[in-house]
């Protein structure tokens, strides 16, 4: 049985019919499709945040104690780093839209640099936690031995490493797609008149930032009881 070619027809404002050759210039469709993908991310992280809230209600004091042991200074610096990276990404898109391709590329490189700084700080933080014996798989985070932390703290750190790890993975993916974006710009595939890819990657980066906006208070700030604690971190 052969498949007959059936053309897709679009109708313009005057009611004239045209055969569709491609959807590459469908800006709104491209934006809507990417938002659909981002909603799956929202649901994934949203579920994690809800679980975290539920565990917090069950093990209130353990969560506060565990949170107090995190380094809020490093977490805070990373918050500011991500804030500026969202700015550079947004300004890059603005420059692209206004025709300044060179400026746009410069802003994307600045965003990549800030993303690497974020990962570097995260690595320092995780290393310090590992050296303190707090890491996935270590005895302190496994129930039923003499080094075990209280049950609520085990849950807290389990969620902490899972969520910050998943967030870090999104940062790495973000660096990858920004490098790909630069390649597409250099190839002339993304231009001031056709920048939907740039727009969507900027949206992705803002989502990564948005997730951190909640990761930071959930993990780092719930145990901050006084100014001294906030300033000193550990």
């Amino acid at each position: 049985m052969s498949h007959e070619y059936v053309p897709e027809i679009a109708v313009d404002r005057e009611g004239k019919e045209h055969e569709v050759q491609g959807w590459q210039d469908d800006t709104y469709g491209g934006k809507l499709g990417f938002w659909l993908f981002m909603f799956t991310e929202v649901m994934m992280f949203g579920a994690m945040f809800l679980i975290l809230t539920y565990y917090f209600s069950l093990h209130h004091q353990d969560f506060i104690n565990a949170s107090a042991s995190l380094n809020r200074v490093l977490g805070g610096v990373n918050t500011v780093v991500l804030l500026f990276s969202a700015l550079t990404m947004g300004l890059g898109l603005l420059k692209m839209r206004s025709g300044d391709v060179k400026g746009a590329k410069l802003m994307i490189w600045a965003t990549i640099l800030l993303a690497i700084v974020f990962l570097g700080i995260k690595a320092v933080e995780w290393t310090a936690e590992y050296q303190h014996g707090v890491f996935l798989g270590l005895e302190a985070l496994q129930a039923g031995n003499e080094f075990s932390k209280p049950f609520g703290e085990i849950l807290f750190f389990g969620m902490y490493f899972t969520m910050t790890g998943l967030h870090g993975f999104h940062i790495i993916i973000g660096i990858g797609i920004m490098l790909w974006l630069l390649k597409r710009i250099n190839a002339g595939k993304v231009t001031p008149h056709h920048h939907i890819l740039h727009f969507n990657i900027a949206l992705y980066w803002d989502l990564v930032h948005l997730i951190w906006v909640f990761v930071f208070p959930y993990f780092y700030m719930i145990g901050a009881g006084d100014i001294a604690g906030v300033v000193n971190g550990h």
Binding site: T40, Y218, M221
Partner: protein
């Protein structure tokens, strides 16, 4: 057809910086809040500050202002998460194997 729209560069550029200043101020508030105000309600206060920051990012950095369809989809996706979460809470609260669970506290 192209994806370009009229760009008011100066106005949008200034907008990005204004939002950044707002977010930085709110980040500073996040830091000082536990020692300054609503000290007995740190978790709630932190989430409210986070929600304000999220709203600013969504509206201005993610260009959601005026996007009713996408906004409605966002609310629906959060609703779906809430439905699943309520089912999980009911399930966990009626868990039969609490003694051997890694979810509920053994002491509970």
């Amino acid at each position: 057809m192209d994806t370009n729209t009229n760009v008011n560069y100066k106005s949008e550029y200034a907008g990005y910086w204004k939002v950044l200043v707002g977010l930085l101020v709110l980040t500073a508030v996040t830091f000082v809040q536990p020692g300054m105000f609503l000290t007995d309600y740190t978790f709630a206060a932190q989430l409210i500050i986070g929600a304000i920051k999220a709203w600013m990012i969504l509206m201005y950095y993610m260009h959601l202002k005026g996007e009713k369809l996408i906004g409605a989809m966002g609310v629906f996706s959060l609703f779906l998460v809430a439905v699943f979460f309520i089912i999980v809470i009911i399930d966990v609260n009626n868990f039969q194997f609490g003694d051997v669970s890694h979810i509920t506290s053994p002491a509970k």
